[in-house]
Point group: C2
Chain length 179, copies 2
C-alpha cells in the first residue's frame, strides 16, 4: 500500500530523512506540536530545517528517538522544560547503547544508567523524585512505528546502529546546502 511514490510511507526518501507529517505519525504527536517544538528550539530537525514556507523539515533517526523520549515524558506528565533537560542528557551520551540504557532524571542531574544496578544505586542514594525512562521501550516502539508505516519498502529503518559505542556512524547526509 502506498507504494507508488517514495513519500507514501514512513521511510526516508533515500538518505534524506523524515518529513514533518511523517514524524508526527511516527511519534504520535500533532503537527502543530512538532512545529511548536521546532520553532521554540526544543528540537530542530538535524538533517534540514525549514528555510521558508514552502520548504520541508527533515528529521534524522536520532531526532526521532529524542522526539519519542520527549513524548514519553510528556505522557508521563512531565513538563517540556524537564523533557528538554532529558534530551540534553541524551545528546551528551551519543555513543551509548541506548536500547539497554535507562534515562534517569533527578532534580538537577540527569544520567544514563546502563544497568539496573546503576538505577538501584541511584535510587538508594537520592532524596528527590526520580524520573526513569527505559529507552528499550522507546527504541522498540519507534522501530515498530517505522516498520508499520513503511516497512514493506525493503528499506532498513536505521536500526543497525547499536555498535555505535565509540564508532563513527557518520552516515548522515549533510549534503543539502542552505540557501
Amino acid at each position: 500500500m502506498a507504494g507508488t511514490h517514495n513519500e507514501g510511507g514512513a521511510a526516508p526518501v533515500g538518505e534524506a530523512g523524515y518529513g514533518g507529517p511523517q514524524v508526527c505519525k511516527l511519534i504520535g504527536i500533532s503537527y502543530r506540536q512538532l512545529d511548536y517544538w521546532a520553532r521554540t528550539g526544543l528540537l530542530r530537525p538535524s538533517v534540514a530545517d525549514a528555510r521558508g514556507s514552502g520548504t520541508k523539515r527533515l528529521y534524522s533517526y536520532r531526532d526521532l528517538l529524542e522526539l519519542k523520549v520527549i513524548k514519553q515524558l510528556l505522557d508521563a506528565g512531565i513538563s517540556l522544560q524537564s523533557a528538554r533537560r532529558a534530551v540534553d542528557c541524551l545528546r551528551q551520551d551519543l555513543g551509548a547503547d541506548l536500547p539497554s540504557a535507562k534515562l534517569v532524571l533527578t532534580e538537577g542531574r540527569s544520567v544514563l544508567a546502563q544497568t539496573n544496578g546503576e538505577v538501584v544505586d541511584l535510587l538508594a542514594g537520592g532524596q528527590g523524585v526520580f524520573n526513569i525512562v527505559p529507552l528499550s521501550g522507546v527504541v522498540d516502539e519507534l522501530d515498530a512505528a517505522i516498520v508499520e508505516l513503511g516497512g514493506s519498502r525493503g528499506q532498513e529503518p536505521a536500526l543497525g546502529w547499536p555498535a555505535a559505542a565509540g564508532a563513527g556512524r557518520e552516515r548522515s547526509r549533510e549534503g543539502s546546502s542552505r540557501g
Copy 2:
C-alpha cells in the same frame, strides 16, 4: 504588629492544625499556590476549610505530607494533574508505613512500593516512564521543617489526626526513623 496571636512558630494550637501561611513556610510553596490547590480541589484542608474571608484553613499533618509530595513532584517537573494522581494513590494506602515506602507512578497506574525489590520488579516489567518518590525524604524534610519553625516549643511536631475520618488507625508515625 501587635503580638496578638499565640502561634509564633509552626506548632499547631492544641489540636487545631496548621494554618495556611504556616503550611506555606513548612512546605516551601507560595500562599497563592496553596490557595490555588485548595480552590481547585487538589488538596483541601482536612481539619477545617475556610468558610469565608475571615476564617482560617487548618491542615492536618497528613495534609502536610501530601502537600510535600506534591511539591516534590512539581519540583521534578511533573504536572499538577499527575501529582493529583499520586496523592490519590497516597490516600488509598492510609495504613502504609510511609517513611519506608516509595511512591511509584507510571502511566495509568500508581502504587506504593514498600521495598526496593518491588521497585526493581516494577522497573523490569514496565515500558513507560516511572516517577519514583522516596517518601522517607519527604517525611524527613517535613519533620525537620516543623521542628525548625516551632522547635522551641518543645512540642510534638505532629499530633494525632482528628477523628474526622472516623477510622482509628494508630500507626506509629513518628518520623524520626527512616528506612
